[in-house]
Subunit: 124 residues, 2 copies
């Protein structure tokens, strides 16, 4: 039942590797932007509308970090008004499956977690 033989992937190197990836995707918007871009290339304004609640500033910062890490490509078209298209790179696309695994876990277990949380609160 236990898979402790494999958790060295997480605990290895004192957790630096897993922490590095968590630092990248665990901010408030990254995963949502990546998931939104999975439908294909989008321009800044489209992203701003589809990722509900994100500010211009946060969208810019998130996209810059993703571009810097090679998960998203940014192509500027020499037009007036300017047009900028964002798209997932192969590396970016490869993040989708593990992200879906996590989302699946969340959808399946969050009700139970919420219940446990409420029970814990009222108990104290």
């Amino acid at each position: 039942m236990s898979e402790y033989e494999h958790t060295c992937m997480i605990r290895g190197d004192g957790g630096r590797t897993i922490r590095a990836i968590l630092d990248r995707i665990c901010n408030k918007w990254t995963l949502l932007v990546v998931a939104t871009l999975d439908q294909g290339s989008l321009r800044f304004t489209d992203l701003h509308q589809q990722v509900s609640g994100i500010s211009q500033r946060m969208l810019t910062l998130t996209l810059r970090n993703l571009e810097r890490d090679g998960l998203v490509s940014r192509t500027v078209h020499a037009e007036v008004p300017p047009r900028v298209e964002y798209a997932l790179t192969p590396t970016g696309k490869s993040l989708i499956p593990p992200a879906l695994a996590l989302a699946g876990w969340a959808i399946e277990h969050i009700p139970h977690i919420e219940a446990s949380r409420e029970a814990y609160e009222t108990r104290n």
Copy 2:
């Protein structure tokens, strides 16, 4: 190749579900503690030694949150000196596979990401 039909799991409800789970596991220590507990029940001091770098305060806070969410059980043995055993609940264990998926992705792609990052820096 694209899996955009499925990313609604992530984008659904404006990202609240995925954000809820990320808020839980994306802090600095949670995933490491969970992975460490996958080898079986451990007491406070053992965890403190095995999760290298964590402070008493952070270990306590992390364990309290995990207990509250029903991912970890806490059993106090009436002895002197006190003995407290922490263990994963079934829900807690179920987090391991998706976490491993993420760790696998990290191990596979982090070298490329680091390279992209350095290239981005020197380019600017």
